[in-house]
């Protein structure tokens, strides 16, 4: 007994000694690392601003002819970078009412000027969230010693949201010309003088409707009326990841055959924002997208391409990043005949609550403008999740799209209400019923009920010749959590919307994919 006691005390003493040592060493290391803060080289150097993925307005150098000196390519790059940084840092300053970083890109006098306005705004609790989308720079003067440059920046499009006490009260669009003098100081091109010279009315981009056009309630392709009879499409093996590792043109080709044979003429596909590489669009994904579009052309199907899937930022300072994403995709396919329309965003109204309705709508509005700018040939729409949201921005889109998952008997009323409000073609872009009876959903619809649902729906649709795209071709085995969350009963429901089951067998509903 005494021996046990002795050992117990012994081990207690040893462990407490070790514990004490550990604590002591930890303490010393903490003190040392605290004393070292600030001595870190990466902190000492003023490294370049990390703005790569956020602020990327479209910059065009219109001309560099100037009486001073021929400008070098590298200097142009430097000036452009620092000049845009100056804009970015100023936007951030007005958003936070703090002047941190301003003096890196503005000379002392100029940054004092900004600081004064910031002070005025701070005293009134006004913050301004702004961005610029376009810059058209011409060089007026570049000095012989390469230390001074005067540029004119024309038609700078600025969008600003004005908040008072953190409430959005106004949004404005301005288009202005600026003359700017920059000085090269310790390696930075800093703004010395900045003079707004002209303000003009921003012009909207126009659609030329090269491939399809809209007259009143109807869509025309090659002069012939076109009724969208389509389906939302994901390959069975890779739902919500169509252009991933499992991409197989043969599968897509076979599926397109099934769709075409079923008498449909349109498919709706999805391009994910981050999956496609955000601001630097992945060339491999683009190649796959092109393959899909080429296949659609071959099979004589039209495609509605939904952009920005799973995108959810919408903040004003993130606008230009999304513009560059859209520019790369949309301009690459502006001559592609298979595309019927660009669908800017799938169900953006679901983000109204979390991301602020004004933010989302403003983003959509500008994005429509951007898409038209880089592709004036194709139609533009927005895939609203509910009929209630559908009238938003109806002036801007070419046709209005909405999704309907509510009771069948209310559809007629909903649709006729919409048709009164909207003077454009209205497309029922998603509808369907999952045959999801099973463990997770004991009261769900059977395949028979699903078939009945589609039969009924087709009756209504056909009566009024409504444009439709049903959800979706296949039952899926796996649904990513990012789609409906990770709850198993939700996922379960999402797996059974298809017209073809997971074994490749056509379900009863397939008969009514296109007709009653």
């Amino acid at each position: 007994m005494t021996k046990w006691n002795k050992n117990f005390y012994r081990s207690l003493v040893i462990t407490s000694f070790i514990g004490l040592m550990v604590l002591l060493l930890f303490g010393i290391s903490q003190i040392l690392s605290y004393l070292n803060t600030g001595a870190d080289r990466s902190v000492m150097l003023r490294l370049a601003l990390n703005k790569e993925n956020t602020y990327l307005p479209k910059v065009i150098w219109k001309d560099t002819v100037n009486p001073g000196r021929l400008i070098e390519k590298q200097t142009m790059i430097d000036i452009e970078e620092d000049y845009l940084n100056a804009w970015y840092i100023r936007q951030v300053a007005y958003q936070t009412n703090k002047k941190e970083g301003v003096e890196d890109y503005y000379t002392t006098n100029a940054s004092e000027r900004i600081a004064k306005i910031l002070k005025t705004n701070r005293s009134k609790a006004i913050t301004i969230h702004g961005t610029t989308t376009d810059h058209n720079i011409s060089l007026d003067f570049y000095s012989a010693d390469g230390q001074l440059a005067v540029i004119t920046d024309q038609n700078v499009k600025e969008y600003q949201q004005i908040y008072k006490d953190d409430n959005l009260i106004l949004e404005t669009e301005e288009q202005s010309d600026y003359q700017v003098m920059l000085l090269l100081e310790d390696g930075y091109w800093r703004i010395r003088h900045l003079v707004k010279e002209k303000s003009s009315v921003p012009q909207k981009s126009k659609t030329t409707n090269k491939f399809a056009k809209v007259v009143r309630y109807k869509i025309y392709i090659d002069g012939k009326e076109f009724r969208i009879k389509g389906i939302n499409y994901y390959p069975q093996k890779s739902p919500w990841d169509m252009f991933g590792e499992q991409f197989d043109p043969d599968t897509v080709s076979k599926d397109f055959d099934i769709i075409k044979k079923a008498g449909l003429n349109t498919v709706r596909i999805f391009v994910q924002y981050s999956d496609f590489g955000k601001t630097r669009v992945d060339a491999k994904k683009m190649k796959k997208l092109k393959q899909v579009l080429d296949l659609a052309k071959l099979k004589e199907l039209k495609v509605v391409v939904t952009l920005f899937d799973f995108y959810g930022d919408y903040s004003v300072l993130d606008w230009t990043a999304t513009h560059r994403h859209a520019e790369q995709i949309v301009s690459a396919f502006k001559e592609h005949e298979a595309i019927l329309a660009w669908d800017i965003k799938n169900e953006p109204d679901l983000d109204f609550e979390n991301r602020n309705k004004e933010n989302v709508v403003a983003w959509l509005k500008e994005m429509i403008n951007q898409v038209r700018k880089y592709d004036p040939n194709h139609l533009v729409t927005i895939g609203w999740a509910s009929a209630l949201a559908a009238p938003i921005l109806d002036e801007e889109v070419d046709f209005v799209s909405f999704h309907y998952y509510l009771p069948l008997q209310d559809f007629n009323d909903t649709f006729s209400e919409l048709s009164i409000m909207i003077d454009k073609p209205i497309v029922l872009q998603e509808f369907g019923l999952p045959s999801s009876r099973g463990f997770w959903n004991p009261f769900g619809a059977t395949e028979k009920k699903q078939a009945k649902f589609h039969q009924e729906f087709q009756k209504i649709i056909n009566k009024d010749q409504i444009h439709f795209l049903s959800w979706t071709l296949y039952d899926f085995e796996k649904v990513p959590s990012s789609v409906v969350g990770s709850l198993p009963w939700r996922k379960h429901k999402q797996k059974h919307f298809g017209f073809i089951d997971k074994n490749g067998k056509k379900k009863e509903a397939f008969k009514f994919i296109n007709k009653e």
């Binding site: 006098n109 004064k116 705004n121 009134k124 404005t172 600026y178 003098m181 003088h193």
Partner: protein
């Protein structure tokens, strides 16, 4: 009667209800506000900018202001807005939008002109700070004339640009454009210091100086100086250029690097360098230790070159004694005597080549001390046998064949 009263009351109630109903309907029309008079559009920087909107109804409106350096929002219940000085002091276009709630009532712009009544300021940039004489190179003088609020004056402001060089003093007027007035100041033929200044109205700038360096050197002459012409390996030849000048006769800048290339009789290349002081570059090189002829030419690399001079060195010695001791294992070379029969200064190089059966085993070198050099061939390194020994000193070559080493 009662019934009638009842009807009357109901009637009055209906009328009242209607009134209330209609006012509710009419109200928005009453609220309609129009801008009857917009404010004037031109102001001078630094003066109070008051924007007066005459509205059809007294309501609280907001004015969004967008200026060169940023935006702000003002509020007023009278239609009168006073711009903060942070905005009204800067020149340029200011656009404004008048809002009632989120409804735009008016949109317009005002212009703020620089204030010419404030004391002017000059902002000058001169560069590059040094240029080359001859009228091809230039420095640029850029002047920004500003008002007291740091606003560049309007285009076509007259700016006097002045300069002084040696006994030249000139001034010219340029008109500003794109905020700046500027001129390229080309160099004159002489080197020296160029002083620059500028003036707008009564405001004069400080002085700027630009160094005008001589242009590139022209071709030049070289010569050599030596104490005697013997190849003693001890004395030093001094090589010297003529005064290096540019094409306008300016002595080129001190420190210009001159390289002398020496080619000896065998075609080997020796090099020495010097930098100029007052246009002359001096370089030194040791005499050879054997009879030789040098061809020397100097270069300012890539820019200018000299003539070629030839100098010859005579041998200091015709012959010298060699003593073999200790069964040929100790070789004493010397005494080496020079041109007046004096002992050669310490340090002359002696070379001994040891050859066994046509195969060179070793080259030993030593420098002389008091005219002599001693070589010891140890048994451990050179086993007994027959050797050839070649000895070379001060250009004199001697061979000893079939020497037995014990």
């Amino acid at each position: 009667m009662n019934l009638k009263k009842k009807y009357n009351i109901i009637g009055i109630c209906i009328i009242l209800l209607c009134c209330v109903g209609f006012t509710a309907v009419i109200k928005p029309f009453v609220q309609e506000v129009t801008v009857l008079e917009k404010p004037k559009t031109s102001f001078v920087a630094g003066k109070e900018v008051v924007l007066d909107f005459r509205l059809s109804k007294k309501v609280t409106t907001r004015l969004f202001i967008h200026s060169s350096f940023g935006s702000t929002l003002l509020m007023s219940s009278t239609g009168r807005f006073i711009l903060p000085t942070s905005i009204s002091e800067k020149k340029g276009i200011i656009s404004y939008t008048l809002f009632l709630g989120t409804k735009k009532l008016a949109k317009g712009e005002i212009i703020i002109e620089p204030n010419l009544k404030t004391p002017l300021q000059l902002e000058s940039y001169v560069g590059p700070p040094s240029i080359i004489a001859g009228g091809k190179d230039y420095t640029m003088q850029v002047v920004i004339a500003k008002d007291g609020y740091d606003n560049p004056l309007p285009d076509s402001t007259a700016i006097w640009l002045k300069h002084q060089f040696l006994n030249i003093e000139k001034e010219e007027t340029v008109l500003s454009k794109d905020m700046i007035g500027w001129q390229n100041r080309f160099s004159y033929d002489q080197s020296g210091r160029l002083l620059l200044s500028s003036q707008v109205n009564a405001k004069i700038s400080k002085e700027f100086s630009v160094e005008v360096f001589p242009s590139l050197p022209e071709d030049f002459e070289i010569n050599s100086i030596r104490k005697h012409n013997y190849a003693d390996g001890n004395q030093i030849v001094e090589l010297m250029t003529s005064v290096l000048k540019d094409q306008y006769g300016n002595i080129i800048s001190d420190g210009t690097w001159v390289t002398y290339n020496v080619i000896d009789a065998k075609g080997a290349l020796l090099k020495t360098q010097g930098s100029t002081v007052n246009g002359v570059a001096v370089a030194k090189i040791l005499h050879p230790d054997h009879k030789d002829t040098w061809k020397i030419k100097a270069y300012v690399p890539g820019i200018a070159e000299s003539n070629t001079i030839t100098i010859a060195f005579e041998p200091v010695i015709e012959d010298y004694p060699i003593e073999f001791r200790m069964q040929n294992r100790e070789i004493v070379v010397g005494p080496l005597s020079s041109f007046m029969n004096q002992l050669i200064p310490n340090g002359a190089l002696v070379e001994v080549k040891i050859i066994n059966e046509n195969h060179q085993i070793e080259t030993l070198t030593k420098s002389t001390f008091e005219g002599k050099a001693k070589f010891v061939l140890k048994k451990e390194f050179y086993p007994s046998g027959i050797y050839d020994i070649h000895i070379k000193a001060l250009g004199v070559h001697k061979e000893f064949k079939q020497l037995p080493l014990e």
